[in-house]
């Protein structure tokens, strides 16, 4: 049985996977939050993936029902101003948003992590220079940057993902860098070096496993922010064409019918955006609470 003293002085030779998945199992704080978050996220992702099979009608067809009809037996979530079935639109509506989020996170991980690891590990002026650039970008509002990029380059999954990723990479960089900087000083890294371990192997065996928990937390938030930013872009008019099913679009255009008392379009569309962002945020918070002893 390991004691606190032993785990502090021994290097983290547990595999990356167990560090990643460990907090999923076992009792303790944050578990409820994390499980609820996972539940919500899984349901939403499943719904989006299975949309073609489970949506009762074609979400783009207009005039299927009376426009702006409240929820009824035929149309459980009502119809929008074009007479489209809200239920189908809601089921289909998350795909673009989720794809953008996935792409954004992927870009961040692929770019942000290595830069953070290498820069922090190398240290010196190189590190300071990179950190300065990252700090400059870090404070920039994501929506403004996204607006800038999308307005010039147009609305595609990649563009939106890139716009969101650019502003989020510094977060990954910072988180990774601060972990690396503290681990770098640990005696077991010196021990490994004197035993002849090269940089890549040290990074992989010692640094990376310790970095994972913080990265997971950032990833969760990244997903949530991405969803909110994409919806925001829709609201400004930098989103998909109004015919395509998208929660952000429905929320934006549903607003026009608000004075008529048409609440269902915006409530369901807005609610889904909220739920999607909430799911990821809960995972992130729950995971953070599990892995950060200070939060207990």
């Amino acid at each position: 049985m390991k004691t606190t003293q032993q785990t502090r002085s021994k290097p983290q030779t547990l595999s990356a996977m167990s560090r990643l998945l460990g907090p999923l199992i076992g009792k303790g704080y944050g578990r409820g939050m994390m499980l609820v978050g996972i539940g919500i996220t899984v349901i939403i992702v499943a719904m989006s993936v299975l949309a073609p099979s489970i949506a009762p009608r074609d979400p783009t067809l207009i005039g299927l029902g009376l426009p702006n009809n409240p929820p009824s037996a035929a149309f459980p979530l009502g119809t929008d101003q074009y007479g489209r079935d809200m239920l189908s639109r809601i089921i289909w509506g998350g795909r673009f948003i989720l794809l953008v989020a996935v792409a954004a996170v992927a870009i961040c991980l692929v770019i942000g992590l290595p830069i953070g690891l290498v820069s922090a590990y190398k240290g010196g002026n190189f590190d300071r220079f990179v950190a300065l650039i990252m700090d400059s970008i870090y404070a920039f509002p994501s929506l403004v940057l996204a607006v800038m990029i999308i307005s010039v380059f147009g609305v595609t999954i990649i563009n939106e993902a890139l716009a969101i990723a650019v502003v989020y990479i510094p977060s990954y960089f910072r988180v990774v860098r601060s972990q690396v900087l503290s681990i770098k000083e640990m005696p077991y890294v010196d021990a490994a070096k004197s035993a002849g371990a090269g940089t890549p192997s040290i990074l992989w065996k010692y640094v990376w496993p310790n970095v994972i928990p913080s990265v997971v937390v950032v990833v969760g938030m990244n997903f949530a922010d991405s969803i909110l930013t994409t919806a925001g872009l829709d609201f400004i008019g930098l989103g998909l064409p109004v015919t395509l099913p998208d929660w952000g679009i429905d929320l934006t255009y549903g607003r026009q019918s608000l004075p008529l008392g048409v609440w269902w379009t915006i409530v369901f569309a807005g609610g889904m955006i909220l739920l999607a962002a909430l799911g990821f945020a809960l995972i992130s918070e729950g995971y953070a609470e599990r892995t950060n002893p200070k939060l207990r």
Binding site: M33, L132, I133, D135, S136, I137, Y138, A139, F140, P141, S142, L143, V144, V147, M148, I149, S151, V152, F153, A224, L228, T229, A231, G232, F235, I236, G237, L238, L251, R255, L258, P259, W263, I266, G270, I273, L274, A277, L278, A281, L282, E285, K294, L295, R296
Partner: protein, 344 residues
């Protein structure tokens, strides 16, 4: 190091940061798209029209010259020329729209800090209990709420439903903003709540405040989530800290310990994120202004985008970048003032 030295160093550091941001904006808005005029007019536009525009906006000069013009212009307060027909300078328009955004952001910030710090402290004090869990859940829920969606809901409830608060604009139609004067000199900050108070126009003040309640609350609540979380975490950490236990060991009153020891140290890191929160506030302000029809910088930006006025968009983004860097600087200096350890 002393406060003075720190301030100087920090200011010097701001310069490369600004340069990086300005260059990034230039690259994205000017270099990468090729000729923004082409983007404005699309494929089958009249070539002479395009040539005129390109020349009038100085876009036919070599890139490095444009870059230098750009930087030089900034030093003189020139944020570029608009593409909307008569090539008006963008700066005056931006400065006239900015006060509305500043006012909204300011009040939203106050809401965010009050709600966030109070809830966070409450959660930390009653850790593990029902109050704490509610605070935690609220913090995350409000963070995940799209600000414009929250705005819509508030409008529905208080504007359309209960009919007690206005849902759009900054003043009721018919209320004219007055400009205060000192010693006979008229000036106008553009910030309605300030102007109206300074000129003693109480009805205008009340009206302005009424129009601010819903948007500032929506924006402020959404931002408060981060403050709540941070305050709670910091308080928990601090309340467990040795110096807090030591303070209790000396028999200090629990109230003293909570506020003068725990909270006082816990909010320090929050000051550091205020700069970041300001940036998030700006993003949110763009959406809030659009939702509540407030004519600020956010609606200006959206407006210019819809008109494909790329040079105006560039000017606005540059302005925001400079604004954020300045706020960042001020916040860092404030933090050094509050926490003597940072001055090293």
């Amino acid at each position: 190091m002393g406060l003075r030295d720190y301030v100087v160093t920090r200011i010097l550091l701001t310069i490369p940061m600004m340069m990086i941001l300005l260059t990034v904006v230039f690259i994205v808005m000017r270099v990468l798209p090729g000729n923004p005029v082409l983007l404005r007019f699309e494929k089958n536009a009249d070539p002479t029209l395009i040539a005129t525009y390109t020349h009038a906006l100085g876009l036919d000069k070599p890139l490095y010259l444009q870059y230098l013009d750009y930087l030089w212009g900034l030093l003189h307060g020139n944020l570029g020329l608009s593409m909307a027909g008569s090539f008006e300078p963008v700066a005056p328009e931006i400065t006239s729209r900015f006060p509305a955004t500043l006012e909204l952001t300011f009040y939203a910030f106050i809401v965010a800090v009050i709600v966030g710090v109070l809830l966070g402290a409450l959660g930390a004090q009653k850790q593990g209990g029902a109050a704490d869990n509610s605070v935690k859940v609220f913090g995350i829920l409000i963070y995940a709420f799209p600000v414009f969606f929250l705005g819509m809901i508030l409008q529905l409830i208080f504007g359309v439903g209960l009919h007690i608060l206005p849902v759009s604009g900054r003043l009721d139609p018919g209320v004219i903003p007055t400009s205060p004067s000192i010693a006979g000199i008229h000036f106008q900050t553009g910030i309605l709540t300030v102007d109206s108070l300074l000129s003693g126009n109480l009805p205008e003040f009340v009206d302005a405040v009424k129009h601010l309640i819903l948007p500032a609350t929506a924006l402020g609540l959404v931002i408060s989530g981060t403050f709540t979380r941070m305050t709670r975490t910091n308080m928990l950490e601090t309340m467990r800290a040795d110096f807090v236990t030591a303070a209790r060991a000396r028999g200090l009153k629990e109230r003293t310990v909570t506020y003068s020891y725990a909270l006082r140290n816990a909010i320090l890191p929050i000051v550091t994120i205020m700069g970041l929160q300001f940036a998030i506030l700006l993003s949110g302000a763009i959406l809030t202004e659009t939702e509540f029809n407030i004519l600020g910088l956010g609606t200006y930006l959206v407006d210019r985008i819809n008109f494909r006025d790329y040079t105006a968009v560039q000017g606005t983004v540059v302005f925001l970048a400079l604004l954020i860097t300045t706020v960042s600087l001020v916040v860092d200096i404030l933090y050094a003032y509050l926490d003597p350890r940072v001055r090293l």
